[in-house]
Symmetry: C3
Subunit: 204 residues, 3 copies
Amino acid sequence: MRTRLIRPLDLAGTALFALQGGATAAAAGLDVFGVLVIAFVTAVGGGIVRDVLLGATPPAVFSDLAYPVAAFGGGLVVVLVYRLVRAVPPEVLLPLDAAALALFAVVGAAKAVDHGMSPLLAALLGAVSGTGGGVIRDVMLGRVPLILRSDVYAVAALAGAAVVAVGLRYGRRRALVLAAGFVVCFLVRMLAVWQGWNLPRVAG
Amino acid sequence: MRTRLIRPLDLAGTALFALQGGATAAAAGLDVFGVLVIAFVTAVGGGIVRDVLLGATPPAVFSDLAYPVAAFGGGLVVVLVYRLVRAVPPEVLLPLDAAALALFAVVGAAKAVDHGMSPLLAALLGAVSGTGGGVIRDVMLGRVPLILRSDVYAVAALAGAAVVAVGLRYGRRRALVLAAGFVVCFLVRMLAVWQGWNLPRVAG
Amino acid sequence: MRTRLIRPLDLAGTALFALQGGATAAAAGLDVFGVLVIAFVTAVGGGIVRDVLLGATPPAVFSDLAYPVAAFGGGLVVVLVYRLVRAVPPEVLLPLDAAALALFAVVGAAKAVDHGMSPLLAALLGAVSGTGGGVIRDVMLGRVPLILRSDVYAVAALAGAAVVAVGLRYGRRRALVLAAGFVVCFLVRMLAVWQGWNLPRVAG
């Protein structure tokens, strides 16, 4: 993965997360405005939380107009053609979602390393970048966040982000490290979906 | 609207939002402390989120003691005379609330423009200033935020904030632009209430 | 209390809050990952919110690796020996929790004073430091935050933090002021538990 490819891919991931967030909001019975708001926070919430924690304000999504446009674009697609969006089969949606998650986690971890964070915290902030938007979406919809309830989702983000955090720390080539982190996150997530992996509950 | 009038009006809006937030919390069965907390976050939450996103920390409400005093004052009124507060008829409350919303949205958008944000983001941050406190209130009370469920509320804030963001960008006189934004937000909100406007749901 | 004692005590409080947060998450049926996440945010959420509001980013817990380690350590204990954790009697847990609350409130207020905040806001930020993690925990678990529903918990944090904020403002010896704030918070909380104090509801 060439690093100059990251921005277009990141924008595609933003639009995709917005699409999903908007579809979830529409299914919850929200109106047009609510769908757009939830689409927006799902798509850019993780990156905003990451940047606020890094002290890198205003958040990056606010200084590059393409990000809010991609986020609202994804929400608008839901508003206009919800029936089509709802009909997308999971076999298409899940790999796309896993790819967007991997991209966000990897890019977020790299940004944290660039800001001088230790590998442990860079990995955490990468996972926050990938999953934070979904947490805000679920809290606003009055639900326990999906990542707390099911599947190996945040764990995949954490694994990919950790590869990046450690790899960059030890001076490996940036493009290679990002690609490796992406593949790890994507594979862990897809294997978890395919095999029905779930972590055990703690309380009997 | 003279710009030197903004601070007293802004304080009045803060106290009013605190009053409403506190009344909502009291109706939800919270104790004295809970009512004060919810009154406080309803009144100043939107401005705090705006300032954190702008990187303008500590938030403005923390450096001007009059704001927390106004917010707690509004909450204290609820604690002391909840019966009276509850008896205020909507014909009085709704225009006051629309005025406070308009003021917060307009002031918030102007602040974002002053910090160099683009018009799109300044309009968004103005809407966040006006509605963010209510979102935090609803999330803490375990409810789907009101702005996601009903009425043309956030849309009115967004419209007023957009007038300010665009007007200031193109160099119009500040007092005029703020007044225009205020009137637009107030009118959209009051028309929506009066006519029972609601945006359509997305999912059938 | 010698000020050099603060860091080890603060770490102990972090681990304890993580233990409690994790136990709450386990009781709510979350899986291993969810328990670790909730343990983490319960333990460090209050300090992170305080630092974001102070503009002191990245938050302190991110620059001292011992804090995330203590937080995850507490969560891991829950995952490994939840049965033992659940069996700890309240007579042991409540005083430990009150001590951790007092410590967080006192240290948070002192930090806010050091950043030049007025006594009112330093007291508020101290209370946020002590109770913010629990609020985030409850919101993520879909509950109205405990501090809004019951007991004199946040009020105790506020009282201790106020002692520190005022004491430091008027130039009293730091160690003395912190110790006094700690004792006030701890006693208020323990008396409230022991006597079954609760603030009255506002609405009949």
